[in-house]
Symmetry: C2
Subunit: 219 residues, 2 copies
Amino acid sequence: MKLYDYILSPSCYKIRLMAAILGVKLDIRPVDFHPGAEHRGPELLALNPAGSIPILEDGDLVLTESSAILAYLAALSGPEWLGGSAPQETARLQQWLSFSHRLTANLGGARLHQMLLRPGNIEAMQAQGVEALRELEAGLFEQRLRGMRFLVSERATIADIACFPYVALAPDGGISLDPYPNIRLWLRAIRSLEGFIEMPGIHRLHELKPDPHPAGLEK
Amino acid sequence: MKLYDYILSPSCYKIRLMAAILGVKLDIRPVDFHPGAEHRGPELLALNPAGSIPILEDGDLVLTESSAILAYLAALSGPEWLGGSAPQETARLQQWLSFSHRLTANLGGARLHQMLLRPGNIEAMQAQGVEALRELEAGLFEQRLRGMRFLVSERATIADIACFPYVALAPDGGISLDPYPNIRLWLRAIRSLEGFIEMPGIHRLHELKPDPHPAGLEK
């Protein structure tokens, strides 16, 4: 299974993260997204005329939407990541997958503007990003009232993976996460998942127990 | 089940169409989207801070993304509309649901610009709309080679319903459907579905058999 990937892309990281958690081995094909704009070159446009990455190839199947790739990996290797079949769960999963597309536009747009000087109305993207974070905070608060730590149920699903990277990297776009305690708890819960991997800007949880052999005190 | 609805909104029509096909009764609450901008008023912003419609309320559950509402109605009343559980089908369903969000931006954006003078770069939206239609045409052609008339399998799913209205209304945004034979066959296949309902600009298939009692020839 081949992933056309860019290390700094939150959307590509969603796929690497899901695969790592599920134990799926990916054949990573790095794309020179910046500065080379290879995703807009002939080889990749033939695979994905929309000119975006990630792209997953598995035999004849070509998937170009991160939500679809997450669903595919889960269906293959961990169907419990697709949520339960109760109508409310099915609906919540789709609700947050759709929401994740808006995060790409607002939080992702603000980040590209700040990091790569991508043109765009930064104030508008930041304002929409803050609105989206408030919505996410309210959704997670409601889930907490139901005794659930994740967006769809008491366990993580592809909806959590789909929303996680752009939220975790919101500060790169000049948007603070300080006002959102439920979001910060949720980010920690995802970073605690078995099999979690990092990307630049998103790190493992710090070890909270003191180092028994701190370097400065040796001998 | 209450739907906050606007008769001219393709996204609201998705929900009315799915409900009609499934035989689900909706309590329709018309929203004065234009010119009143009621979706941006206090009552609706309290339900959906993103300020968009459709909104579906069912008891405690509030859904604000059309893909999520389609999934909810299908899970309640016609799970076969969610596609099969084979990983490739799960993936294709999500691929086209994600694609439908892009249609809202490009074909929908062009239509709002032409019909309601909504600001925006009309040339860019039309160019992206044409790119999306080419992608859809190619996807439907591949499906036809597999012997399938619809986007995900040989029967229609929520992905077809999600993509249908903005495509059918593309000419409202100044984008012709003439170059896309597979799209035109697919539009006819959806318009032939049992329970199909119209919206302004999207009509039932004409009866092809001659009227046995044409008015002019009576008596």
